[in-house]
Each structure stands twice: as C-alpha cells, then as structure tokens.
C-alpha cells in the first residue's frame, strides 16, 4: 500500500513539512499511522480516501505540533533553488517550484483542499478526507483557485 501511494504521500508530506528532514519524519509518522489504522479499515470508504485521511490528519497534527508559520519557502521546499539555467529542465523545475511556493502561501484550510485536489481527488473524496461538507470543499477550492491564479500570474508576469 505504501509503495503505491508513496509519491503522492511524499508530496502531501512536503506540503505540511518545514524542510526535507521534517518531511522524512512526517513520512515515517504517516507510515506508522497507516500501519496502526489498517486493521480497523472496514471498507467504509475507498482505500485511497482512507490513506489520504490518515495522512492528512497526521500532517495536521505534525504542523500544529511544530507550529509552522512563516518559514523560508526554500527550506520548506526541500528542493534546491532552480537558479537561472536556461535549459528546459530548469524551466520545468521553475514551474514546479513556483506552483509549490504558490500552494504553500495559501492559508492552511485552502492549502489542504488544494493539495488533495492536485492529487486528483474529487470534491466528494476531499470532503471525506477533511471531514467537511462537499459544498465547503467547493468554496475553498474556488477561493484557492483565485489566490493561486494571482500568485502564479505574478510569477509569470
């Protein structure tokens, strides 16, 4: 199960973590939480929802425990700065980093919904994971989309 969801959980963990070391700690935390929670999984939701729910809750606990707030985005990114190399790989990585920075700048509630949306979850599943209504998810995503458009638009300009 971990192998299947590892890339997505890694990205999710990165959005809650301060830096690379913190992300690795959180990943271990999530893995342990999944291992503990798996025996109680009774297929009341999809496996994906179950995994994201556990990861999301661990991420929230982790963040509030560490009281992350205005952290250097470069440190939180866990990825070295892309620099100004003109080749395609640098431009692609610039877009990743800009998107990542834009997501990190969102308020917590919006960021969580956006990360789950970016991982491909529909509104209903996001609502399940976050424990809120589908309508609430739609409102958060609409607000987040406006902010993302502004952050990303500023960068592209």
């Amino acid at each position: 199960m971990l192998q299947e969801y590892e890339p997505a959980l890694s990205r999710l963990a990165r959005s809650y973590a301060r830096d690379e070391a913190d992300r690795q700690d959180l990943m271990q935390d999530i893995a342990f939480a999944l291992w503990k929670a798996l025996p109680s999984f009774r297929n009341e939701c999809s496996e994906r929802t179950f995994v994201y729910r556990v990861a999301h809750n661990r991420g929230l606990s982790h963040r509030y425990r560490n009281a992350t707030s205005a952290l250097p985005l470069e440190a939180a990114a866990g990825v070295i700065d892309t620099g100004t190399a003109p080749d395609d790989a640098a431009q692609r990585n610039d877009r990743h980093t800009h998107l990542w920075h834009a997501v990190r700048q969102l308020p917590d509630g919006l960021q969580q919904a956006v990360v789950l949306r970016l991982e491909g979850l529909p509104d209903r599943e996001i609502a399940d994971v976050m424990g809120i209504s589908e309508n609430n998810v739609a409102v958060r995503l609409t607000r987040a989309r406006k902010l993302l458009r502004r952050h990303l638009g500023e960068v592209e300009a």
């Binding site: 890339p7 997505a8 890694s10 990205r11 990165r14 690379e20 992300r23 866990g78 990825v79 070295i80 700065d81 892309t82 620099g83 190399a85 080749d87 395609d88 790989a89 640098a90 692609r92 990585n93 877009r95 990743h96 998107l99 990542w100 997501v103 949306r117 970016l118 991982e119 491909g120 529909p122 509104d123 998810v137 739609a138 995503l141 609409t142 989309r145 993302l148």
Partner: protein
C-alpha cells in the same frame, strides 16, 4: 463540484504530480560528489604516470643503443604529451556545478558523461595510431632478433596492451553512449 475550467485543475495537477522528488535531488548531489572524487583519483594517477614518464623517457633517450630505440622513446614522449593534453582539456569546466541548482547538477552530470564518452573514444583512437608503428617494430624485432628475444617480447606485449585498450575503449564508449539517452530525458 467547484466551478472552474476542468483543464485548469488538470494542468496544475499534472504539474504538481510531475514534481521531482527531493530524494532524487539528494541522489543527484551524491552522484556528482562521487564523480568528482573519481576525477581527483584519475588526475592523481595521471600525474604519477606523467612523473614516471618524465623520468623514464629521457633515460631511454640517453641510453638508447640505436635509432630505433630513440624513435621509440620519442614516440612515447609524444604519446604521453598528447594524452596528458587531452586529459587537461577534457576536464576543464566540469569540476563543479555552475550553481547549487537542480538544473546545474543535471547539466554537470550530462557534460561529464559526454566528456567520458569523448575520453573513451580518444583512448581507443590514439591506441590505434600507436598500434601501427608498434606492430611494425615488433615485426622487425621478431625477424631481426627472433620471436623470443626480450625486445620483441616487450613490443609484442605493448601491442597486446594497445589492442586491449582499443577493444575496451570501444566497449566503454558504447556503454556510456547508452546512458546519454536516459539523462537527456530530463531535458
């Protein structure tokens, strides 16, 4: 469902999921560091061999009993100088990344691979050039002094050594060239 164009979230989602993993960055940094250490080791060996050549070749020239031996020593000196010059040129600009960026490390890795391929190609090509006079010399010594004479055995041994470098160089060049494609996929 949230009201926004489907392709907006889809596009962002594709970008998001295509992020390079931070583990990949750490592995890339580690690979580059290992390559740098290997470069230092190669340079150290080349320096030692060059020092040995600087001592041995003049001694050969001074003690050479005939023209043939002097030509051999002269050829060895030229060979050493050419190889040393190529080595110095091929390592220019690849000692460190241009910056502490993902793109810079990847560019350095690609450039080092290209230089290694060029180095392997140079090695076997220069050995082909060196093999020709060496074969000629070996044939002369076999016909002149006999096949089991010390001088014939030395040059025959040198021919085998050069042949091994030619074959090995080609094999290394081919194997390294295959690695260029996966690295280029990053571009």
């Amino acid at each position: 469902m949230s009201h926004l164009p489907l392709d907006d979230w889809t596009r962002l989602s594709d970008e998001w999921r295509a992020q390079p993993r931070t583990d990949d960055v750490d592995q890339l940094r580690h690979r580059v560091r290992v390559q740098t250490k290997r470069l230092y080791a190669i340079v150290a060996v080349e320096v030692l061999l060059s020092i040995a050549a600087v001592i041995v070749i003049p001694a050969m020239l001074i003690r050479a009993p005939d023209l043939e031996s002097r030509l051999l020593a002269g050829g060895l000196a030229i060979f050493t100088a050419v190889v040393w010059g190529f080595g110095v040129r091929s390592r220019r600009g690849i000692w460190r990344a241009a910056g502490d960026t993902l793109a810079a490390y990847r560019a350095l890795e690609r450039e080092r691979l290209r230089r290694r391929i060029a180095g392997a190609r140079f090695a076997w090509q220069v050995c082909v050039v060196a093999l020709v006079p060496m074969l000629f010399l070996t044939a002369r010594r076999i016909t002149g002094s006999g096949p089991m004479s010390a001088s014939a055995l030395v040059t025959a041994g040198a021919c085998i050594y050069l042949l091994a470098w030619i074959v090995g160089g080609r094999v290394i060049e081919t194997r390294l060239a295959r690695r260029v494609v996966p690295l280029s996929d990053d571009e």
